[in-house]
């Protein structure tokens, strides 16, 4: 029976190559837009991830803080599951770093009688735990130690960073779904035309007692092939666009392999779902 479905699907593709080709091209256009947004979203994500990796909490210590207490606090903060590393920066290390990072103030730093910079604990969170809630929670815990003078983690820009990430994620998801639906509608329309062209066969199949699954299967395969071909074409167009942007405008990254596989499989899945919908509607009508 599977052989019958495959043969019928291939025959249908051969019978109407222009229709299938046009459908695949239209699907490709819709998925191409998804692909372009995917590239933009991925690059935004990469950029945000590199910024996010620099998110850390700095707990400035009192000058009279005892070393044993600080080491104990450092250990306790390290034991928090979301914390990746707690690094103690002494007053001397802070000054040395300031001299390197701020060479324009070299004269000021060299003329000092006393080191004005405080020692600090630099707390880095694990990837995936760098959320606003965790940041605030860990900062609050650090603030509770009596040897801690002040805690900073750039609340404002962290809030903006997470807002930007949410907007990026939402826009990509919304446009992905919208253009995915457009692709599905195109496939469904093409399959309805194909179903209509084969209405005589379908009517005879029902007449003699063929099971609905057998009637549907060739159309599902045809839809899967159309969706798959559209997705592959969209991928090629997206890659070409990426190459052009990289060559003439600026360096951007292409989609990762997992996104490519998911995108191409989604194309096939859209094809199957859209075909199932179209055939189901037709079988209910006749």
């Amino acid at each position: 029976m599977m052989r019958y479905s495959l043969r019928e699907a291939v025959a249908a593709l051969r019978r109407a190559p222009v229709l299938v080709g046009l459908s695949a091209t239209m699907v490709a256009m819709a998925l191409f837009v998804v692909g372009l947004f995917g590239v933009a979203a991925y690059n935004l994500r990469v950029a945000l991830a590199s910024v996010e990796a620099r998110v850390e909490i700095v707990a400035y210590l009192r000058d009279d803080a005892r070393t044993t207490e600080v080491v104990l606090g450092q250990q306790e903060l390290s034991d928090i599951p979301e914390v990746e590393e707690v690094r103690l920066v002494t007053k001397e290390q802070a000054l040395a770093a300031a001299r390197v990072d701020l060479p324009e103030f070299g004269d000021v730093f060299s003329g000092l009688d006393e080191n004005p910079l405080p020692a600090s604990l630099e707390i880095r969170l694990r990837p995936g735990s760098r959320t606003q809630d965790v940041l605030e929670d860990v900062a609050h815990q650090a603030q509770l130690y009596p040897f801690v003078e002040d805690v900073r983690f750039g609340r404002d820009w962290v809030e903006r960073l997470f807002l930007l990430r949410r907007i990026g994620g939402f826009t990509t998801a919304f446009l992905g779904v919208a253009f995915g639906l457009v692709a599905a509608l195109i496939i469904a329309t093409a399959i309805r035309i194909a179903v209509f062209a084969r209405r005589d066969e379908i009517s005879i199949m029902r007449l003699v007692g063929a099971r609905n699954g057998l009637i549907r299967r060739p159309f599902l395969l045809e839809g899967a092939v159309t969706g798959l071909a559209g997705a592959v074409l969209a991928l090629a167009l997206t890659f070409l666009s990426h190459e052009l942007v990289t060559a003439f405008l600026f360096d951007i990254e292409f989609l990762p392999a997992s996104w490519i596989v998911a995108g191409v499989l989604s194309g096939a899945l859209f094809g199957i779902v859209a075909s199932a919908w179209a055939v189901r509607r037709y079988l209910r009508e006749v």
């Binding site: 029976m1 019958y4 009517s203 005879i204 007449l207 003699v208 007692g209 063929a210 099971r211 057998l214």
Partner: protein
């Protein structure tokens, strides 16, 4: 074999196509179903094939009930019911053999069994010589024979014929009718919907059912012997008495 129990079929807003119809066709029986256009003949056949479900009442076909059989199981009934039409409904661009083979293929007959079975079926309907002929090359009578061969493909228990001789000349009509009788003689029940009063008249031994406005108005099996049909069943009256009654065509 086929049992209609107070069957009503309504198509809103047009109204009732069948209204409280009850009858029983036994295994191996042959019956004519007549009536004017729109009387409910085709609806009756479609209900037996379960292309339609009754609005009220119950249709039973070979143990399957219209009330209890789900849409997913309808194919089981359809394989027990052969169906032929006035317009043949053959697939254009295919040969006689391919048309018959199609019915076997889509119902899961093993590939190796298809060709010998197609040869046997075309032989049975007298078309062995037309095995590889495209349906467009066949006469009306030959096309109907191919349609009958296709209807027999799954060894059904009942054959439904919806005006199967309506497009044929007298000679072809006789040929197709003789073929249907042969098939009936082998034990298959036949319900033949027809307008052809001459055909019915030539076979008074065959049971006659008449529908008018969706109601069963005459059944020769339950009619009182020796009492002719009345104006309530105009076609039966015309057939049995030769009198053209009210509403005769």
């Amino acid at each position: 074999m086929i049992k209609f129990h107070h069957v009503t079929k309504e198509y809103p807003p047009r109204g009732k196509a069948l209204d409280d119809v009850s009858f029983h066709i036994r295994k191996g029986e042959f019956a004519f179903l007549t009536g004017h256009s729109g009387s409910g003949k085709t609806t009756t056949l479609r209900l037996i094939h379960m292309s339609e479900r009754p609005t009220d009442g119950e249709v039973r076909v070979s143990g399957f009930s219209s009330v209890r059989t789900s849409d997913r199981e309808v194919w089981k009934i359809r394989r027990r019911v052969g169906y032929v039409f006035q317009d043949f409904r053959l697939l254009p661009g295919r040969t006689a053999a391919e048309n018959v083979a199609f019915a076997l293929e889509v119902t899961g007959t093993p590939r190796s069994a298809i060709t010998p079975k197609v040869q046997r079926l075309l032989g049975q309907v007298g078309l062995s010589a037309k095995y590889g002929a495209a349906v467009e090359e066949l006469s009306g009578g030959e096309r109907q024979r191919v349609a009958i061969a296709r209807a027999l493909a799954n060894d059904p228990l009942v054959l439904l014929a919806d005006e199967a001789t309506g497009n044929l000349d007298d000679r072809a009509t006789r040929g197709v009718f003789d073929l249907v009788r042969q098939i009936n003689a082998m034990g298959m029940a036949v319900l033949m919907a027809t307008h052809d009063l001459d055909l019915i008249r030539r076979h008074p031994e065959i049971r006659l059912l008449e529908l008018a406005h969706g109601r069963l108005v005459y059944d020769s099996e339950t009619a009182e012997p020796g009492v002719p049909p009345t104006d309530a069943s105009p076609l039966s009256r015309q057939i049995r008495t030769g009198v053209t009654g009210v509403g005769a065509p």
